[in-house]
Amino acid sequence: MPIALAPVGQDLKVLKITADEETKRHLEDIGITVNSVIQVISRSGRTSICLVKNSRLALDSNLSMKILVA
């Protein structure tokens, strides 16, 4: 499921990133890679604040739909 719909406060494993090449690379550089563990700490609407390797990352709603986790 996309991050935008994932439960809050649980460890999630990234399965797939469907964003364009440039954005995907940037996401990988800041720590969101396939197989990495992330957690949604809070969400408003479909925008999310995620915990990624001990830092808080804010992601807009489009992007939250493009990162698939389980």
């Binding site: 954005t23 550089d29 396939v34 804010a58 992601l59 807009d60």
Partner: protein
């Protein structure tokens, strides 16, 4: 001189360290992307002086935004003698990702393990000796904030800088390592510097590298045909990123022992639950913004004066003396806001001191022209501007607090939802709010935006976020308008003008996005730093820097142009002093362009002296404070002086009103024109530097057209509705809202009818 470069993730403390090492006062803020250009300073406590270079923060050596390109190019092309890689110890894993990339270059490096004070406070430990051994790179524990470990760091860096280092990689166990080796050997054969680094970037299909080594990339492409990873396919860049993180979490992360296992919600997270809440986030931000303007401009703090109908000093029958004048700086029928109190005090000081100067000159029997030059020209002009300096400082103080606490990054996030509809990402908010301080750093900060069109849009709208130098225009002219309307002080009108500026920005973004700058809004990805209380020292350094800038400007460029305005308004074309202002050089120049401004309300409909407004607006191109300075200089030439108005700077404007017959809607149009037109020369130069080639002339044209059209519409609309005064304002707001809706509809139409070839 040896050069050491500071490299590291955004917001990891590079600039704090830079300031500590070099004694500089570079701007530090609590959000990613404060530093957008490289900066040099000197460290003097080593065996020899060392040049320290502060670079913009980067997450990796594959740049995402233009300011990251600066860092990459510096490290690669300028070949510093040593790279000091600053690693935020509270987020070891993510920070070491960049370290593993810098390691691949043939450059001496040292790791500064920063924020150790925070780590120790949490009761966590890092085995830095073992980390040093495993990395094969010296590691020094420091705290840039507390200033600890800096001497050792610099000694270690100095020692390391004289030893050559060959690049090494953590990717040796990776399944595509033999491809990397082959490419490295090929590049080495072509005498490429840093072959290992370039080989890996080439395998990652990095855009810049592929252009640089177009023949070698074929090796990678051929290899791809016979390769397939079940998880990543041939996406080598994802494969490499994954391999790096795996290596880091296997070999380096265990060196950190945490007191408490698992993730606990911090105080910051709890605060964010409220401050970034879907429903509460935006209202809270609007309240904060209003509070800032209220505390800066209001002549009735918290509306206490109106609520309790407090008596004025006159009502109380207080005797008029200096003590009363001093008291009147704080209270007169209402308690003033801090901004107004400081303004009044400064005004009291300047007018008293200036009074002594003119009296002194008169008693010395100075010539009349000298009295006019010094009294009306210089003091009249500078006095108006100087009085505003404290108020500008108050506004800047509040903006600095927003930056230092870490709240700015949150606002960018909560506004992203709305901004996205208009056509920019929430990231654009940061340069925009910086624009309230000064347009120049704001324009430079647009480098942090990933998309070129978004940069252009944001840059063009920055002047509409009225800068500190425009504050005197707002307050003085709005004060005069309030006086004419008999509607209290001008603070509500000032606030409305700020809102109008923002509305113009929004409308023009939407218009450009649906016409000349069509395209997708770039994604919003931003790191939210932990909140922390702003440091007093940091705030003061920041304010001192800004204040210095304003005061310097007053005594240089504004002083010079004020003298020029005085000269041009007192001399005629045969270079003789003239008693009649309408014979002056300035008058004939002003009268020549005056008709152009008729649709805006300050053109031909005014009487013979009406050119003063046009002249003031044009002098605003030199510096926006000059508009009010010009008023101060020119007010002296009008026969009828207006009665003293309590509202700052408004008396000169009222003199103009009485002398020219300008209407209040035209005064509003005048404010709007100054707010939205071409900014000062310095900001224009900054804009030129940040604009891609060929687009700059359109930016200038955009400013001229916007200011002309918007002021003309405002003048016409307000004049039309002026008979109902209160309703007129509401109706005008209505017009703005209706136009916004209309434009939104156009955008929807555009969405359903996409233009081919535009992504």
């Amino acid at each position: 001189m040896k050069r050491f470069a500071l490299a590291g993730n955004p917001n990891c403390g590079k600039t704090t360290l830079f300031n500590c090492l070099t004694g500089s006062t570079a701007h530090v803020g609590n959000w990613p992307g404060v530093t957008v250009d490289k900066r040099e300073g000197t460290y003097k406590k080593c065996a020899e002086p060392i040049s320290i270079i502060d670079l913009p923060g980067i997450y990796s050596l594959s740049p995402y935004t233009p300011e990251e390109v600066i860092s990459r190019n510096y490290i690669l092309d300028e070949k510093p003698d040593c790279v000091i890689n600053i690693v935020d110890a509270t987020n070891l894993e993510r920070n070491l990702y960049l370290t593993t990339q810098i390691m691949e270059m043939d450059v001496p490096m040292v790791i500064a393990l920063n924020m150790m004070d925070m780590v120790e406070k949490q009761g966590d430990k890092i085995d830095e000796k073992e980390l040093e051994r495993r990395l094969g790179i010296p590691v020094v524990k420091i705290s840039a904030l507390k200033g600890t470990g800096l001497t050792e760091l610099m000694e270690k860096a100095f020692e390391t800088s004289s030893k050559e280092r060959k690049g090494k990689t953590v990717l040796e166990g990776c399944e595509i390592y033999h491809l990397i080796s082959d490419v490295r050997i090929a590049l080495d054969g072509q005498n490429v510097a840093n072959p290992l680094f370039h080989a890996i970037k080439l395998v990652e299909n990095d855009e810049i590298e592929v252009q640089m080594h177009s023949t070698t990339i074929k090796m990678v492409d051929e290899f791809k045909q016979s390769f397939n990873n079940e998880l990543f396919g041939t996406d080598f860049e994802a494969l490499v990123a994954d391999a790096r993180y795996k290596y880091i979490s296997k070999n380096y992360s265990p060196l950190m022992t945490k007191k408490e296992k698992g993730v606990k919600l911090s105080k910051s997270d709890k605060a964010d639950k409220v401050l970034t809440n879907k429903w509460a986030g935006i209202p809270i931000f609007i309240v904060i913004l209003f509070a800032i303007f209220h505390l800066t401009f209001s002549e009735d703090l918290f509306y206490l004066g109106s609520i309790f109908s407090l008596p004025t000093l006159e009502d109380l029958g207080v005797a008029e003396n200096f003590g009363t004048a001093l008291l009147a700086c704080f209270y007169d029928g209402a308690i003033f806001s801090p901004g107004v109190i400081l303004f009044n005090l400064m005004d009291l000081i300047t007018s008293t001191v200036f009074g002594w100067i003119t009296a002194g000159l008169e008693s010395l029997g100075a010539a009349e022209w000298a009295l006019s030059l010094i009294g009306d020209g210089i003091l009249g002009g500078l006095g108006g501007v100087l009085s505003f300096v404290p108020q500008i400082i108050v506004l800047l103080l509040f903006l600095s607090i927003l930056e230092d606490t870490g709240y700015m990054a949150r606002v960018a996030f909560i506004l992203d939802r709305i901004f996205r509809r208009f056509g920019v990402s929430g990231r654009a908010f940061i340069p925009m709010i910086m624009g309230f301080g000064c347009s120049i750093p704001a324009m430079v900060n647009t480098r942090t935006l990933a998309d070129e069109r978004e940069r252009t849009l944001t840059l063009r709208t920055i002047p509409f976020f009225s800068c500190g130098a425009k504050l005197p225009i707002l307050t003085a002219v709005a004060g005069a308008v309030a006086h004419i309307l008999g509607a209290g002080d001008g603070s509500i009108i000032s606030f409305l003008m700020y809102v109008v500026g923002m509305a113009v920005a929004i409308v023009s973004i939407i218009l450009m996005r649906s016409t000349t700058q069509r395209g997708e809004v770039s994604p919003f990805i931003m790191e939210l730093p932990a909140y922390h209380a702003p440091s007093f020292k940091g705030l003061m350094i920041h304010l001192w820097d800004k204040t210095k800038h304003y005061v310097k400007k007053v005594f240089t460029i504004i002083l010079a142009s004020t003298i020029l305005v005085w000269f041009l308004s007192n001399f005629n074309w045969s270079w003789a002093m003239t008693g009649d202002i309408n014979d002056s050089i300035l008058a004939s120049l002003g009268q020549f362009v005056q008709p152009l401004f008729t649709p805006l309300g300050f053109g031909s409909q005014l009487n013979a002296q009406g050119w003063v407004f046009v002249v003031a607006a044009v002098t605003g191109l030199i510096a926006k404070e000059e508009v009010i300075a010009t008023f101060g200089t020119l007010a002296a030439i009008f026969a009828t002086a207006a009665p003293e108005i309590a509202v700052e700077g408004a008396t000169d404007v009222m003199t103009m009103v009485l002398g020219t017959g300008i209407t209040w809607p035209a005064l509003i149009a005048f404010i709007i024109f100054n707010m939205t037109t071409i900014p000062c020369f310095a900001a224009v130069a900054a804009a030129k530097g940040e604009t891609p080639k060929g687009k700059f002339k359109w930016t200038l044209l955009f400013w001229v057209a916007t200011s002309y059209i918007v002021s003309a519409i405002s003048y016409t609309a307000i004049t039309m509705f002026a008979s109902w005064s209160l309703w007129s304002i509401l109706a005008t707001l209505g017009i703005i809202i209706v136009s916004v809706v209309a434009v939104l509809l156009i955008r929807n139409y555009n969405k359903k009818h996409p233009v081919k070839g535009v992504k």
